[in-house]
């Protein structure tokens, strides 16, 4: 079993292999469709971004609202492929890991290898279990997007499986 502290600097991820189960602890950022669209527009217009992309981990998730008395809601991964048009740019700007579920394009995989980054998957539909790994959630940007707002999450032992490693292996093609 592999445990890693966030942020995932390049030296921490270079030896990870496709299929490895890794438990993450530390801070990551949430962003899905609408937040990506806005981030991308900000990048194109050279505007300052709401968080530092260097060695950042982005989790593709739109959680349920947090019930009173609980720390966080249900928070499983959404389909990564919808973020494919944006992912290479974000990897180029320093993102070291994205987490979602499912297949991604060859373009994204090439970008992962080029940037010596990773793409990981979390268990789709295990939202209650994954949500319980979240110990703290802070709003970062786009609160008007509701479930699609960018949050900074502090997670503990958040389980992911490496799908694309730095060497060009693909979990779904073996």
């Amino acid at each position: 079993m592999i445990h890693l502290e966030l942020p995932l600097t390049k030296d921490k991820i270079k030896d990870l292999k496709t299929g490895d189960l890794v438990y993450l602890s530390g801070q990551l950022y949430t962003a899905r469709d609408a937040a990506h669209k806005r981030l991308f527009e900000m990048i194109q217009q050279n505007q300052p971004l709401p968080f530092d992309l260097k060695d950042a981990t982005i989790y593709y998730v739109g959680p349920t609202p947090t019930m009173p008395g609980q720390t966080f809601g249900s928070a499983g991964p959404t389909t990564s492929a919808r973020m494919d048009p944006y992912a290479p740019t974000l990897y180029d700007l320093g993102v070291s890991c994205t987490i979602g579920k499912g297949y991604r394009s060859k373009v994204v995989q090439d970008s992962v290898v080029k940037n010596q980054a990773i793409y990981a998957v979390a268990i789709g539909g295990a939202g209650a279990l994954l949500g319980k790994c979240v110990k703290k959630a802070e709003p970062v940007a786009f609160e008007d997007l509701g479930a699609e707002a960018i949050l900074k999450l502090t997670v503990e032992n958040f389980p992911i499986t490496i799908a694309f490693d730095t060497q060009g292996n693909n979990l779904y093609e073996d």
């Binding site: 947090t66 249900s74 959404t78 389909t79 998957v121 268990i123 789709g124 539909g125 295990a126």
Partner: protein, 282 residues
């Protein structure tokens, strides 16, 4: 004439959308449990166990099973001897959805305009509402909370009669393979055969409302369901696409007469949760 207030329909919907989002449907849980015992891949087995653990956490701690708490799809089957009173039935359903998603701390996932503004309606309405007139004096309300990771992988194909059973099987398997890990396997698959372009899709959705442990009442279609399930599980996609022999938990087929020239086939993909519930108001 028997009167039933639409407020009862509203309240039933409010209760059901909350219930199905935290409590796994019994049929699906039973199939998932059986699959976890029979799965031959260790990673697949572990993954199925995580899904069972997730179901237990959701129910015990009242956290939605999945963060995609779905778009509500509601069938209101109204007995022809019933007079619905106290307002507009579609409005009552939407009021029920809005109240349930708010009270249950469920995610609001509906946008108003599908193409341009895509602004979240903030209360998960409108629901997709189907009304049907049935004999008798009951009102049957059926609710699904449909996630879109799987909905996006669904297909509609206009086969020709010559394509026959082999064509149907090919279409279903192609759809399942293309869905792969994106649809959160093990999947539940609804297949609609016959009718028209639009009705085949309705049949596929109806198939997903049926208890997944009960085969089609027509032995020929029950055999087709069994054959499709075996082939789906031979694709090797496995739980979450990590490999294994549990790619689908169930394949439900519904059929309807069609035109001499046609063989429409709709494949509605659903995930390992497939939330559905039914209440009879008499």
């Amino acid at each position: 004439m028997k009167e039933i207030s639409v407020t009862r329909i509203r309240d039933a919907v409010t209760k059901m959308v909350q219930d199905i989002n935290v409590n796994y449907p019994k049929d699906i849980y039973q199939l998932l449990k059986a699959a976890s015992e029979n799965e031959s891949s260790q990673l697949g087995k572990d993954t199925l166990q995580i899904l069972l653990d997730n179901a237990d956490i959701a129910a015990n701690e009242h956290i939605p099973v999945c963060q995609d708490t779905g778009m509500a799809i509601v069938y209101v089957k109204v007995g022809q001897d019933v007079h619905l009173i106290d307002g507009d039935v579609t409005q009552a359903v939407n009021d029920g959805v809005a109240a349930g998603y708010e009270a249950g701390y469920l995610r609001k996932s509906v946008v108003d305009d599908p193409l341009y503004d895509r602004i979240n309606t903030k209360n998960n309405t409108p629901a997709i509402v189907y009304t049907e007139i049935i004999p008798g004096d009951d009102v049957i309300v059926e609710v699904k909370a449909k996630g879109f990771g799987s909905e996006n992988k669904s297909t509609l194909t206009m086969l020709t009669p010559a394509d026959g059973e082999a064509g149907v099987i090919q279409t279903v398997l192609d759809t399942i393979r293309n869905a792969g890990p994106n649809a959160c396997p093990p999947m539940v698959v609804g297949v609609g055969i016959g009718g028209s372009f639009d009705y085949a899709a309705v049949l596929a959705k109806k198939a997903l409302f049926r208890d997944a442990t009960i085969p089609n009442s027509n032995p020929k279609y029950a055999a087709l369901e069994k054959k499709l399930l075996k082939l789906a599980n031979e694709t090797g996609i496995g739980p979450q696409g990590f490999g294994g022999d549990t790619t689908a938990l169930a394949i439900n087929v519904e059929y309807f007469p069609t035109h001499i020239a046609g063989l429409p086939v709709a494949v509605n993909i659903s995930c390992h949760i497939t939330r559905h519930a039914k209440e009879i108001l008499s």
